[in-house]
Amino acid sequence: MPRIERQVVVANKKGMHARPAALFVQLTDKFNVTVSIAKDKEKINGKSIMGLLMLGAQHQTPLTLTVDGEEAEAAMKEFEAFFAKQEEDLIP
């Protein structure tokens, strides 16, 4: 099964607070993949909003995304795009 690992940086000025974290979790549900996100040595399940919030990832924090599963490539593409956006552009 494909596994992809990428470095991303949080572009959102307010960081990963409740709303963007919720949107990310909702986004991961669209794909049949497992996601983990690491900040320094901390690593969390990317489908856990609690985990995402506890990372305390603020604006410009570098994160390592690891995606496993058949749809890894398509998923990673959207995840990378997600982290590159500002909050206003994420919220429909």
Partner: protein
């Protein structure tokens, strides 16, 4: 149960008697309960059931918010729903129940407290505060796991209660507005805290600065809150209750008498007119302006429009809010204060650095000059609203003429762009300066030449003049509005304004205290702006006095050496001149 008397700072007058409700912002504490091996599955089922119930509750709340406020405001609840479904949370709680054989509520609280603790280590202030979302969700779940009433949240408060809290944040205060609160009791805070302002506007008593009331009062204890004397009596005896019941009916009777004064002008018996205006905290309060016989709004605070939300209010929304107030009050005038953030007021959408001394840091006009994008949006909205009635505007915390000029330059720019876009506004809208900083007092003569009016903001002026942090309960006793230094400053500002033929008003809690208001009359203020609920009392006082007496007493008071001497002397004189005022 014997009664317990707690002494604090009286922050809003009146008397209330009712059950206490402790607003718990602290960590959750539930008793440790061990279960047997064959209870494990039913305990897990109970946990899942509680999650389900909480989810139904949040869905219902979400519907309601979408209906009342719009889709956007409801988005935070999606995050709350995801927290309930969180795989990590469920794993840890269910795993914990299985492994340690502890009851669901205990295991749940242990996991939540662990999350909250790790949240507290997050560096970013805004992200750290998201632990409030977790607390909020946890409170809902716990309600279904335990029968403790204390996990109720603010949305669901129904009965008449006395709110007991360590401290109320401005946003707590907004959530409580329009709820049936009978009184407020807080550990922290002084006379000018938000709790005090909100309590006054809701016309309920408040006692603040009690230090440890939340430790001494339990949910459901019956309390008498005496907002006159600053007392909280826990589980009062029957004689005490009877005494207070009498007191309360006396207060109600005198309030009814005051009603007759509504339409009469605030004029002394020898013909001196003073304009009495209302302070407006929330747009909702606008109905109080006429109800209490105010001659307009002397201070319309705009911060609340910016609170309790994650984004900034757009121009259109601000415009509609200001317009609504201007139209409701017209033909009476409204004085709007430009954004006064910082100090003790913060919003989620903008990160203001938390300075070591926030009241001396980037706040009010300093913040607006720094974030001109936010300032310009507000100025546009204010100018547009000025086309709909009598609106004037003032800048908070001006420290000298340089800042006034900078602010006015931005205003000129905004006016120009409105003109280019052919958007109507009142080009002659008066623009005033708030005098809150000692340097503005000392240069009031210069400021008076470049501004249309002065409004002395005494809540801040007192703290800056006396170097007393007004939200620090340890220095609350040093916060003396009648301090000779403060009185001389006010005198200086009045003289400087009148020399240039501009009006000098005052807005601050000082104006609603009869003794201090009496002094302010004698000092020659043209306008006094105060909490609507104080207006009739002050009007009654003004109408029962002769201005010549005010001048005489004030002159003598100005010669005294301490704030206490001033208050005692003026208080005694006032009681003699207007017997039975309070």
């Amino acid at each position: 149960m014997s009664e317990l008397v707690l002494k604090g700072i009286p922050a809003a007058g009146g008397i209330a008697y009712g059950p206490a409700f402790i607003l718990d912002n602290q960590e959750f504490i539930v008793p440790k309960r061990t279960i047997s091996a064959d209870e494990v599955e039913s305990e897990i089922a109970r946990f899942q059931e509680a999650l389900g119930q909480a989810s139904i509750e949040i869905h219902a709340l979400k519907e309601k918010i979408i209906r009342d406020m719009g889709q956007k405001q409801a988005q935070i609840l999606d995050a709350h729903l995801l927290l309930l479904e969180d795989p990590m949370l469920q794993e840890q709680v269910i795993g914990g129940i299985r492994e340690h054989k502890h009851a669901a509520e205990y295991t749940f609280v242990k996991v939540i407290n662990m999350y909250v603790q790790s949240f507290n280590k997050i560096e970013d202030e805004y992200l750290r505060e998201r632990s409030s979302d977790i607390n909020d969700v946890a409170r809902r779940v716990l309600k279904y796991l335990t029968d403790e009433s204390k996990w109720h949240d603010l949305d669901n408060l129904q009965d008449d209660l006395i709110m007991v809290a360590h401290e109320l944040s401005p946003s707590d205060a907004v959530s409580l507005y329009n709820k049936k609160m009978m009184a407020f009791v807080t550990d922290l805070g002084g006379r000018t805290s938000h709790t005090a302002i909100i309590a006054k506007s809701m016309r309920v008593p408040a006692v603040v600065g009690l230090k440890d009331a939340t430790l001494k009062i339990y949910n459901g204890d019956y309390l008498i809150v005496d907002g006159q004397k600053g007392l909280v009596i826990v589980n009062p005896s029957r004689p005490t209750r009877e005494l207070y019941a009498k007191e309360q009916s006396k207060i109600n009777a005198s309030l009814e008498k005051l009603d007759d004064l509504r339409e009469l002008p605030a004029q002394t018996s020898d013909g001196k007119r003073v304009c009495i205006l209302a302070n407006l905290e929330l747009s909702l309060e606008v109905q109080n302006v006429r109800k209490f016989g105010a001659e307009g709004v002397g201070l319309y605070r705009t911060e609340f429009l910016f609170m309790n939300r994650l984004d900034l209010p757009p121009e259109e929304e601000q415009y509609l809010a200001y317009k609504q107030v201007v139209e409701a009050v017209a033909p009476l005038p409204v004085t709007i204060r430009t954004l006064d953030l910082g100090g003790d007021k913060f919003i989620s959408s903008v990160q203001i650095p938390r300075d070591m001394a926030p009241f001396l840091g980037v706040r009010a006009i300093r913040f607006c000059l720094d974030r001109q994008d936010i300032f310009k949006t507000q100025l546009r909205a204010i100018l547009r609203a000025s086309a709909h009635g009598r609106l004037q505007m003032m800048y908070p915390m001006i420290s000298g003429v340089g800042e006034l000029r900078q602010a006015n330059a931005v205003l000129t720019e905004v006016k120009r762009s409105l003109r280019d876009e052919h958007i109507p506004f009142d080009d002659k809208m008066k623009v005033g300066t708030m005098i809150e900083v000692p340097s503005a007092v000392m240069t009031a003569d210069t400021l008076a030449k470049e501004t249309d009016f002065f409004s002395i903001g005494t809540n801040d002026l007192v703290q800056y003049a006396l170097a007393v942090d007004r939200v620090n309960e340890k220095t609350a006793h040093l916060y003396e509005p009648a301090h000779p230094a403060v009185l001389r400053m006010i005198q200086r500002v009045v003289d400087a304004g009148h020399n240039e033929n501009i009006h000098v008003g005052l807005c601050g809690e000082m104006a609603s205290d009869p003794v201090l208001a009496f002094l302010l009359l004698g000092l020659g203020l043209d306008e006094l702006s105060m909490s609507p609920s104080s207006i009739l009392t002050i009007k009654k006082m003004v109408r029962s006095l002769r201005f010549s007496d005010c001048l005489r007493v004030t002159q003598e008071a100005m010669g005294l050496s301490t704030g206490q001497e001033v208050e005692e002397f003026v208080g005694a004189q006032l009681r003699q001149l207007v017997p039975g005022l309070d």
